[in-house]
């Protein structure tokens, strides 16, 4: 190393450096940082190697990091031999092919094995230089000490893994909870064609508040419930469970749907969770050979739609007040209607009608149009699926609310024979 220029009078406490002195320092720094010295002692390692990895040149930084002796190393070792075995496979299967195909690789994370057997985490950039004939000639590699960064990255990787596991658990929990709020088996009523459909919102990681069920309340009478607890997540799911099981229990004791909903209202108020619920509860029983009587009450919920054999759509039931609101005295009314062969009844949650695209609502109009268009021969399953599909498609598959639909269909004269037992 050249000796430092004596700066004479310009000691630490001396007068400010004069212009000639500054020039001298500048040139001295330039001399000290000559290209050869910069190469050898750069704060990163440099390697040059043949396309097969044989190292032909290495700087002093590399040798000091790894402990290799230059004479025993240059021309004798290949780059991939300096790597830990796992990284060596990565080199052969990823690094070398990418370098050959793309002419360069960047920020490859590997570990160099030092002569003392220690592993040095590094980041590697390399370029492949080609000769005038286009053939690969030399690989220039620069290696950065990445101990700190890699330990930080290892923490990130571990954190990401934990996050992924946690998300998987949340998804599993949501699915389990959700399935506990829906009928375990496909609903069925002897002599009627009935189908339910449920579609969770978004990616299914969150439990929704929609529910439905079909159950036998007494001999020859079936209860059909469909409802929506506001909100999503565990708290909504807990309320949904209360609503669903209260309807189930009350439906077995009381014949009047309005009385059943009143019981649900009181049960929800006792929860004191400040969450409300809308629901339709309907009982059906056969009134004559081919006709059925449906008695229903609605609580803050859109009234069900009835489509007759001619495709005429009307609403059945009467509006009632929402369930579970402290300020609201619940009141709903039973209404009975006759269902004739070929009639279909559709119960649905607002996940259908409130589906949005560019601010526009799917709305009741589209639903009624859809039902009027579905062929009279469509069975309950087809009708329920058509509704869910239309609502999901309207939102380009990105549902923001969950959707529940129940469809009842009274077999027409020609279908009576095929509507199952009963």
């Amino acid at each position: 190393m050249p000796s430092r220029v004596s700066s004479g009078a310009s000691s630490e406490h001396g007068p400010p450096r004069t212009a000639p002195q500054a020039d001298a320092a500048f040139y001295q720094a330039l001399v000290e940082d000559d290209p050869e010295d910069l190469y050898e002692h750069a704060p990163c390692a440099y390697l040059s190697s043949l396309p097969d990895g044989t190292i032909v040149k290495a700087n002093a930084t590399f040798l000091s990091w790894t402990g290799y002796d230059r004479d025993a190393f240059v021309g004798r070792r290949r780059f991939q031999e300096l790597l830990a075995p796992g990284d060596r496979i990565f080199y052969e299967t990823h690094f070398a092919p990418a370098l050959r195909m793309q002419g360069q690789v960047r920020e490859i994370a590997v570990e160099l094995v030092t002569t003392a057997g220690q592993r040095l985490p590094v980041l590697v950039n390399a370029v492949l230089e080609r000769g005038p004939d286009g053939e690969p000639r030399v690989v220039r590699t620069v290696i950065f000490d990445a101990r700190e960064r890699r330990s930080y990255e290892a923490e990130l990787v571990a954190a990401r893994r934990r996050a992924e596991e946690s998300e998987a658990r949340a998804r599993d929990l949501a699915a389990t909870l959700q399935s506990s709020l829906l009928p375990p088996l496909a609903p069925s009523i002897p002599g009627l064609d009935v189908a339910g459909a449920y579609r969770p919102s978004g990616d299914g990681t969150e439990v929704g508040g929609d529910f439905y069920d079909v159950f036998e309340t007494s001999a020859e009478t079936w209860g059909i419930m469909l409802g929506d607890v506001c909100g999503k997540g565990p708290a909504a799911a807990a309320m949904t469970a209360v609503a669903r099981y209260t309807i189930l229990a009350a439906g077995l004791r009381a014949a009047s749907p309005a009385a059943v909903l009143q019981t649900v209202h009181e049960a929800l108020l006792q929860q004191q969770r400040d969450r409300f619920c809308t629901a339709v509860y309907m009982t059906v029983q056969r009134s004559s050979g081919s006709e059925w009587t449906a008695t229903l009450a609605c609580a803050g919920h859109e009234r069900p739609l009835r489509i007759d054999a001619d495709g005429t759509v009307d609403r059945i039931g009467r509006y009632g007040r929402i369930l579970g609101m402290v300020s609201s005295q619940h009141r709903s009314t039973d209404v009975s209607v006759v269902l004739r062969p070929g009639d279909r009844v559709v119960l649905y949650t607002d996940g259908v009608t409130d589906a949005r695209r560019d601010g526009e609502l799917f709305g009741s109009g589209r639903l009624i149009d859809l039902l009027a268009r579905t062929p009279a021969a469509a069975d309950a399953r087809q009708t329920a699926d058509a509704i869910v599909d239309a609502a999901v498609e309207f939102q380009d598959g990105r549902t923001v609310d969950d959707i529940a639909v129940v469809v009842l269909s009274v077999p027409g004269a020609e279908q009576l024979g095929s509507a199952g037992p009963g």
Binding site: G53, F90, M101, V110
Partner: protein, 256 residues
Amino acid sequence: MTGVPDGRPMVFAHGFGCDQHMWRFVAPAFEGAYRVVLFDYVGVGGSDLAAYDVDRYSSLDGYASDVVEVCEALELTDAVFIGHSVSSMIGVLAARRAPERIGALVMVGPSPRYIDDDGYVGGFEPDDIDGLLASLENNYLGWSSQMAPVIMGNPDRPELGAELTESFCRTDPKIQARFARATFLSDNRDDLVEVTVPTLVLQCSDDVIAPEAVGRFVHRQIPQSTFVQLRATGHCPNLSAPQETIDAIEGFLGSL
């Protein structure tokens, strides 16, 4: 698919790590006389990611099913199957399942088992495979699942060619890790003796993934096999020494 439509089919299969681009310097040499078929395994390269099935691709059998399905879809018979690296063993499994489809095997850098076993030297310890999985994980920090739709499944959109080249060797890290496990934890030594079709074993020099002793083992186990030692070093002679690779394959095909 390129080459002569009614020529003998040649099916080129890539190994672990990359995709069919691995054959870009080799496959064109056969287009004059053969029907050349290139494909990507499901989950890799330009394949349809939606077709990826975790269970199916947790063992080499799933990849062999891909080969059989490609052969069936194209109605290939008596094809020459050229498998790089792990695809050599995938070819063995596929040929056993669809003997009428595959009439010859070319193995480029084959290894029936990568991990050392009692009296058998594969070249690696179980810890090394964990090291590879860590290496894969370390090198996919920047991977974003948002990239997947761009990289995957756009074979019909040539304007994405630039990105495809840029993304060469990049695929979903979970799929890579599963392929790595299926590859490096496999043991196909007992399957070799069942190979009945003419087979070429191409052995590189200084190949750390498939050392010469392993290539010779493969050659010994397969009765009807030819062993050719390449001067090419490393594990990818299809990239580093395409002409030598082509010459060896042509010599083998000429001898059939």
